[in-house]
């Protein structure tokens, strides 16, 4: 079974402080991991995916297969980072077809001035 756990529903940090949003997953195969973000009154949008190994808006996430984690980090939080963040997993399948995303509960990040 595929499962994604985000243990923190709410996270509040001060501007300029480091941020870490936790994500753990459960999947028997080799997963693809994503972070999606939803800013106020906007749609869900991709923030980053582990396969790209990129930094977006100062955020990075490293896939740790030993700990089955994909935590999202940013060294210096900014007020515009306030949003809902969702960790998601997509598993590999043997046959062609659309790949579903399995989402975590989401973490609401608030950056205080």
């Amino acid at each position: 079974a595929q499962r994604v756990t985000q243990p923190e529903k709410l996270l509040s940090v001060f501007k300029g402080a480091p941020v870490e949003l936790k994500c753990n997953y459960s999947y028997s195969g080799s997963p693809e991991l994503f972070w999606y973000v939803q800013y106020s009154r906007q749609r869900l949008q991709l923030l980053l995916r582990h396969i790209s190994r990129e930094s977006i808006k100062g955020f990075t996430a490293d896939l740790n297969k030993g700990e089955t984690s994909f935590h999202l980090k940013k060294p210096f939080a900014q007020e515009e980072d306030s949003a809902m963040y969702y960790c998601a997993l997509s598993g590999r399948r043997a046959y062609q077809g659309a790949q579903k995303l399995v989402f975590g509960q989401g973490t609401r990040l608030t950056i205080n001035p």
Partner: protein, 115 residues
């Protein structure tokens, strides 16, 4: 930049009524999805669609649900006889390809309220 669009943005219906939620995926995308999010809960997968047929469906997607791509642009989700527990935000998404690493692009959602 192309976006996924959904109509209506809000829908209120009586229990037992049929509803059709509409989505226009990004034009060159071939893979389509419906997800839902009940208030306060996680985003849940409902169904995926490719090559005019369902690729995968979740346990939620029972006989009351159906999907269709009636023309070259629209992708619809029909709920035949709505229940109170169908009240949720419904998201449509599309992707260019079906690889696990492929980005899915989400619409703004339709908020469905069943009374």
């Amino acid at each position: 930049e192309p976006e996924v669009t959904q109509t209506p943005s809000h829908q209120v219906t009586q229990m037992g009524q049929e509803v059709i939620l509409r989505c226009v995926p990004i034009s060159n995308h071939l893979y389509f999805y419906w997800y839902r999010q009940i208030l306060g809960q996680k985003v849940e997968f409902l169904v995926s669609f490719y090559n005019n047929e369902i690729s995968e469906k979740s346990e939620i997607f029972d006989d009351q649900f159906s999907v269709e791509r009636p023309d070259g642009s629209n992708f619809t989700l029909k709920i035949r006889s709505t229940k109170l527990e169908d009240s949720a935000m419904y998201f449509c998404a599309s992707s260019e390809e079906g690889r696990p690493s492929e980005t899915q692009y989400f619409g703004p959602g339709t908020r469905l309220l069943v009374l």
